[in-house]
Amino acid sequence: MTENFPLYLIILLPLLGAALNLLFGRRFGNTFVSVVACSAVAGAALVATKAVLLVASELPARGALVDQLVSGDWIVAGDFKLQAGLMLDRLSSVMVMVVTWIALLIHIYATGYMEHEPDFARFFGYLNLFTGAMLILVLGDSLPVTFVGWEGVGLASYLLIGFWYHEDKNATAGRKAFIVNRIGDFGFLLGICLLFTVVGTVKYADFGSIAGRLMTPWWMGWPVGYWIAILLFVGCCGKSAQIPLYVWLPDAMAGPTPVSALIHAATMVTAGVYVVARCHTIFDTFPEAAKMTVAGVGALTALFAATIGIVQRDFKKVLAYSTVSQLGFMFVGVGTGAYTAGVFHLMTHAFFKAGLFLGAGSVMHAMGGEGDIVKMGGLGKHMPITRWTFFVYCLAIAGIVPFAGFFSKDAILAGTFAAEFRMSTQMTGAQAHLVALYPKLLWGMLATAALCTAFYMWRLYFVVFTGKFRGTEEQEHHLHESPMSMTLPLVMLAVGSVLAGLIGVPAVMTHGLPESLEHVLTFFNHWLSPAMVPASPEPHEHWLEWALMGGALTISLCGIGLAAALYRGGISETAENLKDKLGFAHKLLWNKYYVDELYDFLLVRPLRRVAVILWKVVDNLVIDLGLTKIGPYIVDSLGALVQRFQNGDVQRYIIAVMVGAAGILFGSTYWLAYQGIQGEVKVERRTVTLKLGDARMRPGQLIYAIDWDGDGKFDDTNVRFNSELKHEYGNAGQFKIVVEARDPVWNMVKRSDDWFFGASTPLSAKVE
């Protein structure tokens, strides 16, 4: 089932590239940096391809290539032990291929796009770092290793969003992304911990057998699997920009465009979808409330972001909301159990969304950094390659047959329509009815979102590439097609956008075709399921499937038609009128439903107020005025006391040494002996018990001689230290007891009847 393969190479190469570029890139110049960065990713892509071919050809469906990341134990804490390894199976194969090859194309593109950038080396160092971290995420064989990659891509994302940190806006966007992701990551980490606590394993390979343990009832009567799934999904919401944590992604467009294409469209943001598919056992826990949550959040996000996308004017903002929306589609896919469809859409989306962003970069490159689409127009004739590739991407994302988006989006829509959530059998009739209706509701939301998608993408296309140029003359003069390094990836991604969908054609469409062709066309459908993930739900009747497909296509065409009517050949007056007429709706959408303002009011401001209180009260008063003043005051006054001895006079120092030595000698002998002669007398008829010495003394330090009757002659001599001594008197009377303690080493002799420092209570015994 498993076979060893040096998977670490796939990770190591980009990380090495990052190290080289960050440490030495600046010194060796841009050519060096480009070669190192691109060849590192190309090497990773080739090794990954070799590995994936092995998975495809030599391993059984559930097989995986494995490798060690850390030899022996990775984390050891008492009984807790964790290993770190890498694993490549069919699911991670899809991700690895997408990540490495698209990263390679974007690296090549960026060498052209960033050619005037002074911080070239830093950019490519970060980009390689991201690629390495993303591959750790994808190749990790357990949730903790994935989490390492998860945090790594978060870091790289933060660094790249704020790449031009000289502008406050960009740095703020980076911070926002980082902080919002922290919220999600916290949930993710809690989910891992809970999983480990309850189930005892976090390795993906063991997930097949944990379903039973996940059923354990936990908080609020729900099975523990539900809570783990929800916690993991909180992390996925952060990373994959779902409601309510999507707000960072549109702002993240502050980063350079290749970054938006690679991280914030094609790879990193899909990590959440990957994790849900990877942990499907957890999400499948009965009752399937977690899946309902995932699908519901996904559908809501898809619709929500798509409507915002309709009115935005910034090129990259439109694409950003489009990404959020498409990620929502994917989550509906994995949430309704159509895992194959979700992952398939992830793959096809990576092609055309990366292409869209690169196209946007190409346009903005030509426009001198201008991103407002209202100031563009008619660019098609100046940059034909960008225009026609963009045309293909728009067809793909709108879902026109036979482009990639059609098949994947259709698979999700069909899966959603046919989905059934298994909930508790004790539901009332109305509840069961609602649960049965839920997938249809989701389907409706997705269909609306698809309509919006087709509309805003084609609005973008028409406004930017058709009609007359609306910018300044200087900009128009400057318009040019981008260099080869940028157009080549555009073309390749366009080819991918055409072809990628053709490996996941629904089975109904391939009936009657030759078997070999059918095998190719439905390749993706049985690549994952049922080996890796459960099979997608499918409509039972063929006519329904055809109808759904036709409906989706019609919706897309409607969207395109609407966009063409309003924006073909420039922004029409109808569009402007419509905007004025629907003033309120437009304003709401333009301001993104005021979500940022809401968060600002609900979270940011209260937090800020708390922070101000902490600053003014705790920091300024308690710490600055209190601790930092009192502490030094104590130290200062003690110092003032002690510094009098530090008078620089060597003679006094040596006097102090002498006094100290004398004190030690006195303390260790005289005082010890003094303690030794202290005693307690207990009389019982004629037997007297003498308890000697201090309890703190160690036995054997002193030798005693005891005169029981005070006649000056010691009755017991050479008595070793003993806490209690007994003596029997022959006759009655009052007796004086004298104890002599001798320190054998220092020959210190001390008697209890000494006039000077004798025993503190005179020792005597009255015997009857």
């Binding site: 003679q651 006094r652 002498m658 006094v659 030595a661 004190g663 000698l665 002998t669 054998p744 020959n747």
Partner: protein, 238 residues
Amino acid sequence: MIAVATSDFASLDLGSLLMQAAQVQAVPASSLTPAGWTPAWAFWILSALVVVGAISTISQRSLISAVMSLVATFFGLAGLYATLSAHFLAAIQVLVYAGAIMVLFVFVIMVLNRDEVERVSDRGLLDKAIGAGALVYLAVRLGEVIASPVGPVSRMSKPAPEFGTVAKIGEYFFTEFLFPFEAISILLIIAVIGAVVVARTVVSRPTTSYEVPNAASGSAEGGDDHAGGDAHGAHGGH
């Protein structure tokens, strides 16, 4: 007997000499542990020389007299070493201490050419009294312990024939004490260089904090004609 002693260094053992002498003195054998070996008179004379010399060293007003007293002390000590069968050490004591180091002292005293005006400063006399008290306490207690019959009984037996020979010391320096020996040689080199660096006549010296700035500008050739000594007064004293 003396002829024998000069011909054979090892047999210059005053201990064995005096062992015979002690027996000759007809001390009741029963009251003595068998190995009373040192000629008691030699010890007493030498230790008297040492104690008187030491007291003289720390009490003389004239530095040259103090050094001479110290030389006498060292000679006495060398004799005591010899009674302890440490003939080589005795010779080194005379050569290095009474010879080299003392010559160094004499040179420095001649260079400085200043006798003390005031032997003991009247400042901090209370401290000094306390220190002296502590010292006396320490000495008396230590002496008490050493002299006590309970402590390790101290009669010494006749040493083995090779004890105290130069060969034996050399053997130790090439085996067990090799590292300290090498370390000491490095220390001596450092001391030689350090002494030269510290005592060298400085031609131009940067202004130090206790100097009066305008005095420093006039003392480029360093040494003797600046106001550094006076400037100390401005620093505050005690």
